[in-house]
């Protein structure tokens, strides 16, 4: 038993369970569509203005969709107290965390891949800057949200108001990452400034917080 095999086994198990209870995926997809449509009504997209605010809008939409998804991740482990079975085993806690984080990453990435074209269509977006930069920003930014989101979801699941607690503690700490995602996306879409600093910041953010999460997850898992 190695950490990697436990992570892989847990990830496969989660994906299998997610696939079987398709309601979670379907309702998430529909929710994402709703978010995009409502944003379109709230922020009327004429071509010029939209490119300016699109960076912000997309990421806020992804953020809200992600939070709904993140809350469900640990709920599955608390049903039947099955998390106890993991804790009692010799499997390392970090393997569990990585599996959950990766699973969430995949899930949110799927949502983004589905929502992005909708945004492009509704807001008639065209990117002045290179597309691959957008992909890099999306990858780094999504991981930034997901790694802390998975960790904080594990914390908030044990509190009295678990649904509201997750966004409450996640959003403030994620502000620098959000700023980076929004501004770099705006920079790439408008072509007006370089996203390089933001990309570096996101990388630093990801590395630091992934390390902190891995360091502290065991304490959270075993908090009674």
């Amino acid at each position: 038993m190695s950490s990697m095999s436990v992570t892989r086994a847990t990830l496969m198990k989660d994906l299998r369970m997610e696939w079987r209870s398709k309601d979670a995926i379907n309702s998430m997809l529909f929710f994402s569509l709703l978010v995009v449509v409502i944003f379109s009504f709230a922020f009327n997209p004429t071509a010029e203005e939209s490119r300016l605010i699109a960076g912000g809008l997309i990421w806020v939409a992804f953020l809200f969709a992600a939070v709904v998804a993140l809350n469900q991740t640990w709920a599955r482990e608390l049903r039947n107290q099955v998390l106890d079975a993991y804790r009692v085993s010799p499997a390392p806690p970090n393997a569990l965390f990585l599996a959950k984080a990766l699973g969430n990453f995949l899930f949110v990435a799927v949502l983004e891949v589905l929502m992005a074209p909708l945004f492009v269509v509704f807001y008639q977006l065209r990117s002045v800057g290179p597309l691959w930069q957008l992909v890099v920003v999306a990858l780094l930014g999504t991981w930034a949200l997901v790694v802390n989101g998975t960790f904080f979801a594990a914390m908030s699941i044990r509190t009295r108001n678990r649904e509201i607690m997750l966004p409450l503690i996640l959003f403030p700490i994620s502000i620098p990452a959000l700023l980076a995602m929004v501004d770099s996306t705006t920079g790439i879409l408008t072509g007006e400034f370089s996203p390089d600093f933001w990309i570096k910041l996101l990388l630093v953010y990801d590395v630091i917080f992934t390390a902190v999460c891995l360091l502290l997850f065991e304490s959270v898992l075993n908090a009674e």
Binding site: R158, L168, I173, I175, P176, L179, L216
Partner: protein, 229 residues
């Protein structure tokens, strides 16, 4: 111990009176902004004390995770609360200063925005403390305290860069503008006074928390012996 505390409190109050006198009377009126600039003597020291409190919270959180002693958690709780209070002072004095000078309440100035984000992070810390279930409160909040403080430099850098990209009015000097010597003196006195005030508040709150913890553990020991439920 108690007499030292009382002496310190009296000292702090005396210091605060002196520094207030310095700030409101002795320091010269600022050329462009007028009397309202005197808020600076409260605005900046409060920010400093808030940052100090959050740093103490960071150390206390780490200490708690290592040795799980309730005193470390008590210090974490105390420093976070006092830090949020001073942070709130910064966020209130900022707009009070800005309004007469620039005509608007809030300009998303870099320093003020950073303070706002810090305030949000540590308010969320206090909310977590409130709503976590009993015994987990200490571990979970210690963890969040570490996350929060690790974020501070990143918050600062990100907002600074954002403001470099998209400039907007900067509130209040202190960073770029040099201070006239007479102003510097008032500033330093207030810095000292506020630091002492912060220390006094934290120690008082810490002591209160320790007493609460003691009561809990006395009850628990009683339950251990008596077998009552």
């Amino acid at each position: 111990m108690k007499s030292i505390s009382i002496a310190f409190i009296i000292f702090t109050l005396a210091l605060l009176s002196f520094s207030t006198y310095q700030a409101l009377v002795v320091a010269p009126t600022e050329a462009t902004m007028g009397e309202v600039q005197r808020i600076f003597y409260y605005h900046v020291p409060s920010a400093w004390v808030a940052g100090l409190c959050f740093f103490v919270n960071f150390l206390a959180s780490i200490t708690y995770l290592i040795n799980r002693k309730p005193n470390a958690d008590a210090m974490a709780a105390a420093s976070a609360e006092v830090g949020v209070v001073f942070c709130t002072i910064v966020l209130i004095t900022g707009p009070i200063w800005a309004r007469p000078v620039w005509g608007i309440w809030w300009t998303w100035d870099a320093r003020l925005t950073t303070t706002l984000v810090l305030w949000l992070i540590y308010v969320s810390y206090l909310v977590l403390r409130r709503f976590a279930a009993g015994s987990q409160t200490q571990v979970l909040s210690a963890v969040l305290g570490i996350f929060g403080f690790v974020d501070v430099p990143i918050v600062y850098m990100s907002i600074r860069w954002f403001r470099t990209q998209h400039p907007s009015p900067v509130m209040g000097g202190g960073e770029s503008s040099g201070l006239a010597p007479a102003m510097l003196q008032a500033f330093l006195w207030n810095l000292l006074a506020f630091t002492c005030l912060g220390v006094a508040f934290v120690m008082a709150r810490y002591h209160l928390q320790k007493v609460e913890n003691q009561v809990e553990s006395e009850h628990a020991q009683l339950a251990l012996q008596g077998g009552t439920r």
